[in-house]
């Protein structure tokens, strides 16, 4: 509860149609901290994230977001337009940092696919394209719902290094993952 905290959740609970997902969850995230939300399938990780984002309202408790900037979020769905090319999708994302963009396109091996329609890209390439929004964010809170899904080793490494860098820059990260990853983070576990 210090000045440094970004998200403060107190006693939040959620249920849908008599299906109690969690209750009395309290946690807080400071700047420069990462939070790994763990739990089995269907335990309510994505739901909790949507509560943090403010899309869903918790049934009980309060949650406070002290950041003034837009949250950078990537969920299970990529928010890509499958009928547009890679390049058009990047245009839609309105990423400003052009130099870095080229850098990341190179690193993620997407450069030569600029004119390929997204529906023709491979599963992992689509995820990597969606992650560009994260790599080039300018917010102080990054929320990722299973971002490692479908990534090959190279891209996986790229993402962990990036996130660790961001943490050092005093940004905060909240993520879920069933795939082990190398990020130094607090852990909360949603019980079944």
């Amino acid at each position: 509860m210090n000045n440094n905290s970004l998200i403060v959740a107190e006693n939040i609970g959620y249920k849908i149609n008599e299906n109690k997902l969690f209750h009395r969850m309290s946690f807080n995230i400071n700047r420069g901290e990462a939070l790994h939300i763990k739990g089995s399938n269907g335990s309510g990780k994505s739901t909790l994230i949507r509560i943090i984002l403010g899309i869903t309202q918790p049934v009980k408790g309060v949650i406070e977001n002290k950041s003034t900037k837009e949250i950078c979020y990537l969920g299970h769905k990529n928010a890509l337009k499958s009928y547009l090319t890679l390049e058009d999708n990047i245009n839609l994302m309105q990423l400003n940092n052009n130099m870095m963009l080229n850098d990341y396109l190179e690193k993620l091996e997407l450069k030569k696919y600029k004119d390929v329609t997204v529906s023709n890209l491979s599963f992992g390439q689509q995820k990597k394209l969606a992650l560009l929004r994260v790599f080039l964010n300018n917010s102080d809170l990054i929320i990722l719902d299973e971002p490692f899904v479908g990534l090959d080793d190279n891209a996986h490494l790229e993402l962990t290094t990036f996130l660790n860098n961001e943490l050092e820059k005093n940004k905060s990260v909240i993520f879920t993952s069933h795939i082990p990853c190398n990020i130094n983070s607090k852990i909360i576990e949603i019980p079944q």
């Binding site: 979020y73 928010a79 058009d88």
Partner: protein
């Protein structure tokens, strides 16, 4: 933001050219289904015109939100620091520009071709413009209501709302032909439009938020 919507829609050729082509088809097909003389053609013509506008607006909006809903873009828009209603207004306007406007122009041309009455046809133009915008808004509401595939809520709600507009259009036409108080019909439609333009986006944004929860 408008620029982005435009880019998105423009590249999705089927979504904007489709409704325009369908409109064109209906208007072309109409004379084929009747075997009457030229002057009788006019009688049914305007009914078909209004219905064709209605239909093409319905087609235009058929996946105005479902697509964004399914691919997760809607969530992204929602967490942006900008008013969701405004983004809906922008979207509707883009659709109208790419679909409603061409259809209004086509209405004018078809009307001219069929009736060969320039004054009548030029009065059809504003009617088509306003009514296409109104229909578009109504169907956007309908689409938002039935984001979920299992629901027919949209069709059920839009219908009773569209009927009064069709009635006004029918009466407006008589007004043109008899050369009386045509302007009052335009104002009536403009009045409804101005209410709709404000109310629908707000309602739609609530409905969508409710769907996303």
């Amino acid at each position: 933001m408008f620029r982005l919507e435009l880019l998105k829609l423009r590249k999705k050729t089927r979504s904007w050219l489709g409704p325009i082509l369908v409109f064109w088809l209906i208007m072309l097909a109409y004379p084929l289904t009747v075997e009457f003389l030229q002057d009788k053609l006019e009688i049914g013509f305007f009914s078909v015109l209004w219905i064709a506008i209605l239909i093409s607006m319905m087609l235009a909006t058929e996946d105005i939100f479902t697509e964004d809903f399914n691919d997760g873009s809607l969530e992204q828009t929602l967490i942006k620091n900008l008013s969701f209603s405004i983004s809906i207004v922008t979207k509707i306007f883009t659709y109208w520009l790419l679909i409603g406007l061409p259809i209004s122009i086509l209405s004018f041309i078809f009307s001219l071709g069929t009736t060969e009455d320039f004054l009548l046809s030029i009065s059809i133009f504003p009617l088509a413009i306003i009514s296409s915008y109104i229909f578009l808004n109504l169907f956007v509401l309908g689409n938002a209501l039935s984001l979920n595939k299992g629901s027919v809520l949209g069709a059920l709600v839009t219908m009773p709302l569209a009927l009064p507009v069709l009635i006004v259009l029918g009466k407006g036409l008589i007004a043109i032909q008899l050369n009386i108080n045509f302007l009052s019909f335009i104002f009536l439609l403009l009045g409804s439009l101005s209410i709709i333009i404000v109310v629908i986006p707000v309602v739609v944004s609530y409905v969508i938020k409710a769907h996303l929860e």
